[in-house]
């Protein structure tokens, strides 16, 4: 789960990483009030989970509360890479002398947390990594060792931070960032830029924070931060229904059981010349009700023209899936969709029989994955 800048900063604040004074605002009036409370010039920042908001006009300096209200009016409703701005973070404007970059992320290859630090912050870090790899210090933390102060020293000295005051502040932030990473079960904690003010004060000016979904049960307060309104409504609907769903851009609706098989089904549909409309995974247990939910999600996409069920029963029982398909035909308006069904594995024969007995015209049984994909592609034309 990704957090907004202001949410990540709230977690930073909890572990003691210095951030600027700020307020959340959802209307221009709130932005003005926030600016009044903060005092002095403020920055009005669009809260969207996408990069490049600065270039898109989503971050503006405001001299006074009236200006903040005006800027907020401009930014609210802005579409930044498909994300509509509905929240603003109004924060005290910072004088910036230097911009650094600091992050800790989970490196799945090494199976260890990985720190990255460079004094060349404020830009896309991939660019630094490519153009000036020596400037980007990378350092793993061994989980059985935990955080030790030398890690911060290697980062700070390695990147060539010269000022002792900065060294000390950054070392403290490194340690706190690791604490945030572990305590909040993060997959990524990133500060870009980590600024140094003309007075030599070090502060996190932005935050990127991703929390492990599987650990949210231990952090109910973070789980509540999820902004369901901002997500794609179809994906939100899928989440509510407990269906793993990713919208793609084609016409063939796809439903499999298990991520690997579902992904492979998408590939095979593309391989035989079709355009998959989505990735949809019933998951391991898939019962009849889950099938109805999945079909409800898939058919909400107006682009879908045909549907391909590719089921290989393990724990999932094919008879349950067949029953679910018939149930969906009863409950949803699905008469316009040709549904290609391939069933194999646990109780496959019963499943096929249930569908055959139902005698529905728009149900097209196929024996193999490849044939099923071909048929679904044909029927989508």
């Amino acid at each position: 789960m990704d957090l907004y800048e202001y949410q990540g900063k709230e977690l930073f604040r909890r572990v003691g990483i210095p951030v600027s004074d700020g307020r959340l605002a959802e209307t221009p009036e709130e932005a003005r009030r926030a600016a009044e409370e903060i005092g002095g010039p403020v920055v009005v920042k669009a809260q969207v989970m996408t990069g490049g908001r600065g270039k898109a006009g989503g971050v503006k300096l405001a001299d006074d509360p009236a200006d903040a209200e005006a800027k907020a009016k401009n930014i609210l409703g802005l579409d930044i890479n498909g994300h509509v701005v509905r929240r603003l973070w109004i924060e005290s404007a910072s004088d910036i002398a230097k911009e650094y970059y600091l992050s800790v992320t989970f490196d799945r290859g090494a199976k260890k947390p990985l720190f990255m630090f460079t004094t060349q912050g404020g830009v896309e870090i991939e660019q630094v990594a490519q153009e000036n790899p020596d400037a980007l210090i990378r350092l793993h933390v061994d989980p059985s060792e935990g955080f030790q102060p030398w890690v911060a020293r290697r980062l700070v000295y390695g990147a060539g931070v010269e000022d002792p005051g900065e060294q000390k502040q950054i070392a403290a932030i490194v340690e706190k960032l690791y604490r945030a990473f572990v305590e909040f079960d993060a997959m990524l904690c990133e500060i870009n830029p980590l600024i140094v003010t003309p007075d030599g004060e070090v502060r996190a000016l932005d935050s990127k924070f991703t929390v492990d979904d599987n650990a949210l049960y231990t952090h109910p307060d973070i789980a509540e931060m999820r902004d369901t309104a901002a997500a794609d409504p179809l994906e939100t609907f899928a989440r509510e229904k407990g269906v793993t769903y990713v919208k793609l851009d084609g016409e063939v609706g796809i439903c499999g059981n298990g991520a690997g098989l579902s992904m492979s089904t998408v590939d095979v549909v593309a391989h035989v010349g079709g355009r998959p409309a989505n990735f949809c995974d019933l998951g391991g247990g898939g019962n009849a009700e889950g099938v109805v939910d999945a079909l409800e999600v898939i058919t909400r996409d107006p682009q879908v023209k045909s549907i391909f069920f590719n089921i290989f029963g393990g724990i999932t029982r094919c008879d349950e899936v067949a029953r679910g398909i018939l149930e969906a035909l009863e409950r949803l308006d699905m008469s316009t969709y040709p549904i290609v069904v391939r069933l194999d594995g646990t109780n496959a024969e019963e499943g096929r029989k249930i569908l055959a007995d139902a005698g529905k015209e728009n149900i097209h049984p196929e024996a193999t994955m490849l044939d099923g994909a071909r048929r679904a592609v044909e029927l989508a034309r």
Binding site: F106, R108, G109, K111, K112, P113, D142, P143, S144, V182, D185, M187, D212, D213, N214, A215, Y217, T218, T244, V246, L248, G256, N257, G258, A259, G260, L261, S262, M263, S264, V266, D267, V268, V269, A270, H271, P276, F279, D281, G284, F312, G313, G314, I315, T316, D344, G345, T346, T368, M369, L370
Partner: protein, 289 residues
């Protein structure tokens, strides 16, 4: 021979009295696996259709001689169950449970890797050595005994490929679902090294998917250490960059995580990659002739 589970497997099911534990534990026993014990705290003295239940894994080891554990406990208890098994001297731990928090697994992984324990999963379908033992949720009836070692990050995709192999009259030495989570107990390399040493296995199929760089690493390992033929299938060619498709593991992380990138890395090492499950099965059949 086969790998990881076989006729010497003496299985304890952690969470045997839960609904899933009971269903699959009994199914595994019905297949012929030697299920010697179950563990559910507070339920010692009970039994599940004749399988004795103990309070602790240590008791199951001492009193029933268990050497392999199958974990079916809820996610929030999974790390504890893994530590309990490892510290009780269990040699092989297979964890089916999904949704285990990454940080918990990270710590557990670092711990058990140092002790020679073989760990498979979490979030995996388990391990099946056809004709010998089935430990987990793999539907054994799809597979037959044979010479193809199959290792996969995905469950159902493995069944699909196993099914295609069976259609072509090809059997398997062992089918290993390593699991799709960011941190799993055994990597492709760990399992492929075991297949390389297994006399029954003549050919290895690696079923990968987008995300991470395990396939790329395996390719490098194979070209240096594996003399048996290896074929591969990768899922996720049509996945849009940056989108998660089910497994937390399937997050695109740089070019190395894409299906195309993996295919190229494998082919550069001389490992053929089938485009569909059907094609990969056909490639295996060609090689096994």
């Amino acid at each position: 021979m086969a790998i990881i589970v076989d006729n010497d497997t003496r299985l304890v099911v952690q969470g045997l009295t839960g609904s899933e534990g009971r269903f699959h534990g009994l199914r595994n026993r019905a297949y012929g696996t030697d299920v010697v014990a179950g563990v559910t705290p507070g339920k010692a003295g009970q039994d599940v259709e004749g399988i004795p239940v103990f309070n602790t894994v240590a008791d199951a080891v001492e009193q029933a001689g268990a050497n392999t554990s199958l974990i079916f406990v809820p996610a929030r208890f999974a790390a504890d169950a893994i530590y309990e098994a490892v510290d009780a001297g269990i040699e092989t731990v297979i964890c089916i449970t999904e949704h285990v928090p990454v940080h918990q697994m990270l710590k557990a992984y670092t711990y058990f890797r140092g002790r020679g324990t073989t760990m498979i999963g979490p979030n995996c379908p388990g391990v099946l050595s056809p004709g010998k033992a089935n430990v987990g949720i793999i539907p054994a009836e799809i597979f037959t005994e044979g010479a193809v070692g199959l290792v996969s990050r995905s469950g159902t995709l493995t069944y699909q490929i196993g099914h295609e192999l069976t259609q072509l009259a090809l059997g398997n030495s062992t089918i290993v679902g390593i699991g799709g989570d960011p941190v799993v107990g055994s990597s492709f390399i760990d399992v492929i090294a075991k297949f390389q040493d297994d006399p029954q296995t003549e050919l290895i199929v690696m079923v990968g998917e987008i995300g991470g760089d395990e396939e790329e690493k395996a390719a490098a390992y194979i070209s240096e250490h594996v003399t048996k033929p290896v074929l591969s299938y990768i899922a996720g060619f049509s996945a849009p960059p940056g989108k998660t498709m089910g497994h937390a593991g399937a997050i695109i992380s740089g070019a190395s995580g894409t299906a195309q990138g993996k295919k190229e890395a494998l082919e550069a090492r001389g490992i053929q990659v089938g485009t569909t499950p059907t094609e990969v099965a056909q490639l295996v059949a060609d090689r096994m002739k």
